[in-house]
């Protein structure tokens, strides 16, 4: 089971972060955000912060999966987990990049 987790956790964390950012964007563009007295600038800040945190988490997972403590004893699984960890990292950087580059709530 731990090997299955090694394979599946990073990419699952990506989809969780992706959904979280998409949801956050929805909240920021809704009346709730303005109702709470927050500005769009702060909204952008929150989105970028989430993005950076998600990237940091992916890097940490990748390092952990290569460390002696958490790596799989099975070399094939370790390699698969590393590939998928890289996929998750790239996906996090790329799919959430619009938080920094696209207009908000238009």
């Amino acid at each position: 089971m731990t090997d299955i987790l090694r394979i599946s956790v990073p990419i699952t964390v990506w989809i969780a972060a992706f959904s979280a950012v998409y949801g956050l964007e929805g909240v920021i563009c809704s009346d709730l955000w303005r109702g709470a007295g927050l500005s769009l600038g702060q909204g952008r800040g929150a989105l970028v912060a989430t993005w950076v945190a998600a990237i940091a988490l992916q890097v940490a997972l990748l390092v952990a999966l290569r460390s002696r403590r958490f790596a799989s004893p099975h070399p094939w699984v370790q390699r698969l987990a590393t590939i998928l960890g890289c996929v998750a990292l790239v996906a996090t950087v790329w799919s959430l990049m619009p938080v920094a580059t696209t207009s908000l709530c238009l």
Binding site: S30, W76, I83, L96, L104
Partner: protein, 832 residues
């Protein structure tokens, strides 16, 4: 084989056969739990649905052939295209690969059956009964007519008042049971039931693909099941989830539907890719290039596809940033798709391809799928989609992907595995003619229809207007469509004729390396006479003698001395023997339960709620009977598994197969719950007419009950579990957890008391959340009672505490979701 060896193999067969065989005659059809028999019936059923969907397609093409040929009015036409889409997607595409998997997987993995044989039977019968109901509805003229994705408000009771829509919502949800059941089964089988030594890197690639697909089914279907459920609640009880005046939002349906619908495309494509990855290397007389990369690509594709659902909603006015996220993921999925295609091309390159019939179909796949991929990239561009959306361009694209990317590879697979399925060697050569008819017919139909779409022909229109400029295209497309249909018909005829009259063929005619070719053909009911020991991905290539050794009983669990159905469960990563799994005997319970379940789902169509409750009680009783039959009243200790190894039976391990099955079923359940919370948050932030006029105040009683419930339920079962293992008295702990579950249910009931179910989407959502909590608390409570009875009748001991672990899992789940759900329900009331 020498004479002596043959004698041993024959004796072993004679020992195994009576234990594993089906009941004789018609009774056997209903009571069988054997994967070969069920797989065969399942393949036949799904082929029947392909024919039904195909006939509807022909009616569509006949209607649209020219302005003069129109023979049905819009009411009928709407039913026809809706049912064509529904049948093809839900009753053909998904069931067909499930059927193939049920049939092939145990053989490939070198084991004796799927993990939960009765579940195979239950899933199959749910599928057959559900499909029959849909076809009857179609013939009776009350078939669904809202398009296969059923958008409200069109599908709300205001615009679709008949029972048509209810039949779709309840019928499809019912059929989904078979998909979820098959998925649980595939996951547990691939993870735990394999040949010895088959570590994760030695799985046949098809098993990896199906593992990924099964997890996708478990995570993609629940949102749609939830959507169908709440749409049905809206239709039946006016709970306004999708009505803007009362705080609902029809976009919620689109989200829930496409959360399922986009991954669905990959759920259909990945099994086809799995078939190609098995067949192509054999046709090229080599092995798959880049196995590890292909596995990584399949997993990435599966997860990435969940980040894509909104691309079906580009035209619904979502903010730019939202669109940009999904465009970004759309570009990402191209990478793993590319990796797979390059692995296939590389495999062809390094091998020496031979042009057998399966190979021909794979080449047909390549050509068609690449073209479909190109138009897919086009519609994934947001500005282009605004143009092509809802036109025949999309219809053409989707058939390139579905027929080219799914149907062709499946036909390749059927021809490839025909010896395993039927034991015969292809003799009549209609197949080649059929292939060319299909190719010409397919491109003739759908290449042209792209054009019609670009000229502005909208999809789902019931006549081609004279003078629209699309007439000649449609006429040609219709003629080609009939050629295509004749081609598919010939394929089916070819397979059928060969299955019945061709001569018996040799074992492993393609010289493949995987284990499904190691059994006599067609496979005996026990699949393998002994569980093989392997050391590579292509065991038959390293050891051509393996089939003989298996048949002679040189693997594990050969001689059935204990006179029951046994197979081996192995460790997940390394495939080392762990315990002996004892399978159920033939039984009619799954069939009866499927019948009663169908009543439970169909009664609400006619608003016979009393009947629904009776049927639900029936299902519960049957489920208890089902669960009861499993287990043992004495400790057996370590048993001889052959080859000098002793292992415990599954009743004496902490986490028995039922625990694993529950774990993955709860994965699906948790996605359903997550979608419910998503819907709640979505409505709150996006829907008009929020916040609701009246917000629930939690008060004191509800939260106190909830806290007490959480504490009692989870600590009680733990105390009980410990007492069982120490031979103490578990009663106290178990009764405490029962009380805790009751308290949780009562806490949820206070939500009912504080809201009016149809006042506002907010109230309606809280009712569903509270209902969910009560349902799970009740279910867990029933399990505790069941466990108490098991203890009372001697099925549980200090060694046999697996039942308690299963119950603990369900209680933990009920507690966790109750805490989250009730917390979410009460949160707005305590915020300032």
């Amino acid at each position: 084989m020498t004479e002596k060896k043959r004698m041993t193999a024959l004796r072993l067969h004679k020992a195994l056969y009576p234990i594993w065989r089906n009941d004789p005659g018609w009774k056997g059809v209903l009571t069988t739990v054997n994967n070969n028999t069920i797989g065969n019936m399942f393949i036949l059923g799904a082929t029947g649905m392909f024919l039904a969907g195909g006939i509807l397609a022909m009616l569509i093409r006949a209607q649209l052939a020219s302005p003069r040929s129109a023979f049905m009015g819009p009411e009928i036409y709407n039913q026809i295209f809706t049912m064509h889409g529904t049948i093809m997607m839900f009753l053909f595409a998904i069931p067909f690969f499930e059927a193939l998997t049920v049939f092939l997987l145990p053989g490939m993995l070198g084991t004796r059956d799927l993990a939960f044989p009765r579940l195979s039977s239950y899933g199959f019968w749910c599928y057959m009964i559900g499909s029959t109901i849909m076809i009857v509805a179609l013939v009776a003229g009350v078939a669904p007519d809202g398009g296969w994705f059923m958008y409200p408000p069109l599908s709300s009771s205001a615009y679709s008042s008949g029972i048509n829509t209810d039949i779709w919502l309840l019928g499809i949800s019912f059929i989904e049971i078979s998909a979820i059941g098959a998925a649980v089964e595939v996951v547990v089988t691939v993870l735990r039931y394999r040949a010895v030594g088959m570590s994760l890197d030695k799985l046949p690639i098809f098993a990896w693909y199906m593992l990924v697909v099964a997890v996708m089914i478990l995570t993609a279907f629940p949102p749609m099941i939830l959507g169908s459920l709440i749409l049905e609640l809206e239709r039946a009880f006016d709970m306004p989830f999708f009505q803007a005046e009362h705080g609902g939002d029809s976009l919620l349906w689109q989200h829930l539907f496409w959360l399922f619908g986009h991954p669905e495309v990959y759920i259909i494509f990945l099994p086809a890719a799995g078939v190609i990855s098995m067949v192509l290397p054999v046709m090229a007389r080599t092995t798959l290039l880049g196995y590890g990369w292909v596995v990584a690509a399949a997993i990435s594709l599966a997860v990435l596809s969940f980040g894509l659902w909104v691309h079906h909603m580009f035209t619904t006015g979502i903010p730019h940033m939202g669109l940009a996220f999904f465009s970004a993921v759309s570009t990402l999925v191209a990478v793993p798709t590319g990796v797979q295609i390059f692995a296939w091309i590389g495999t062809l390159w390094k091998g020496r391809p031979e042009m057998h019939l399966p190979m021909l179909w794979i080449l047909g796949f390549f050509v068609t799928f690449v073209m479909g991929g190109l138009t897919g990239v086009m519609v994934a561009m947001v500005p282009f989609d605004w143009q092509a959306h809802d036109s025949y361009f999309v219809v053409a694209h989707l058939h390139y992907v579905l027929i080219g990317g799914y149907v062709f590879p499946m036909i390749a697979g059927i021809y490839y595995w025909m010896p395993v399925l039927t034991g015969r060697k292809r003799f009549f050569r209609m197949g080649e003619t059929a292939f060319w008819l299909v190719m010409v017919g397919f491109h003739g139909t759908f290449l042209l229809l792209h054009w019609a779409g670009l000229l502005g022909m909208r999809r789902r229109i019931d006549t081609v207007e004279a003078g629209s400029g699309w007439e000649s295209i449609n006429l040609l497309a219709s003629i080609s469509g009939f050629v295509l249909a004749i081609g598919f018909g010939l394929v089916i005829l070819d397979v059928a004729v060969n299955a019945f009259v061709a001569v018996r063929g040799p074992r492993n005619p393609w010289k493949a390396g995987t284990l499904e070719w190691a059994t006599p053909i067609p496979g005996p009911s026990y699949n393998v006479a002994s569980i093989p020991v392997i050391s590579s991905r292509y065991p038959l290539h390293d050891n051509p003698d393996l089939p003989v050794q298996i048949a002679r009983g040189e693997g594990f669990l050969a001689w059935p001395d204990r006179n029951r159905r046994e197979t081996l469960a192995v460790s997940i990563s390394r495939g080392e023997p762990e315990f002996i799994s004892v399978f159920p005997k033939n039984t009619i319970v799954p069939f009866v339960m499927a019948v009663v379940t169908s009543v439970m789902f169909m009664a609400p169509v006619f608003k016979w709620y009393w009947l629904m409750f009776i049927a639900a009680a029936g299902v519960t009783v049957l489920a208890l009977v089902w669960a009861w039959a499993n287990g043992s009243r004495r400790d057996e200790g370590l048993l001889d598994a052959g080859r000098g190894v002793s292992l415990p039976p599954h009743t004496e391990v902490a986490y028995k197969p039922g625990w694993w099955g529950s774990l993955f079923l709860l994965l699906a359940d948790s996605v359903l719950f997550g979608s419910l919370l998503f819907g709640y948050a979505f409505l709150w932030t996006v829907a008009p007419n929020w916040p609701p006029p009246r917000i629930l105040q939690p008060g004191i009683l509800g939260p106190v009950l909830a806290l007490a419930g959480v504490a009692l339920a989870s600590s009680g079962i733990r105390l009980g579990d410990r007492a069982i293992r120490e031979d103490g008295a578990p009663w106290r702990g178990l009764l405490a957890s029962l009380a805790g579950l009751a308290a949780l249910g009562a806490a949820a009931a206070t939500v009912f008391a504080g809201t009016t179910y149809n006042a506002h989407a907010y109230d309606a959502t809280l009712w569903v959340i509270a209902g969910y909590v009560i349902f799970h608390a009740g279910l867990a409570g029933l399990m505790v009672l069941f466990l108490l009875c098991r203890i009372g009748t001697g099925y549980v001991s200090a060694r046999r505490f697996g039942d308690a672990r299963v119950v603990r899992l369900w209680i933990d789940y009920a507690v966790l979701t109750a805490a989250l759900g009730l917390g979410a329900a009460w949160l707005p009331g305590v915020l300032p």
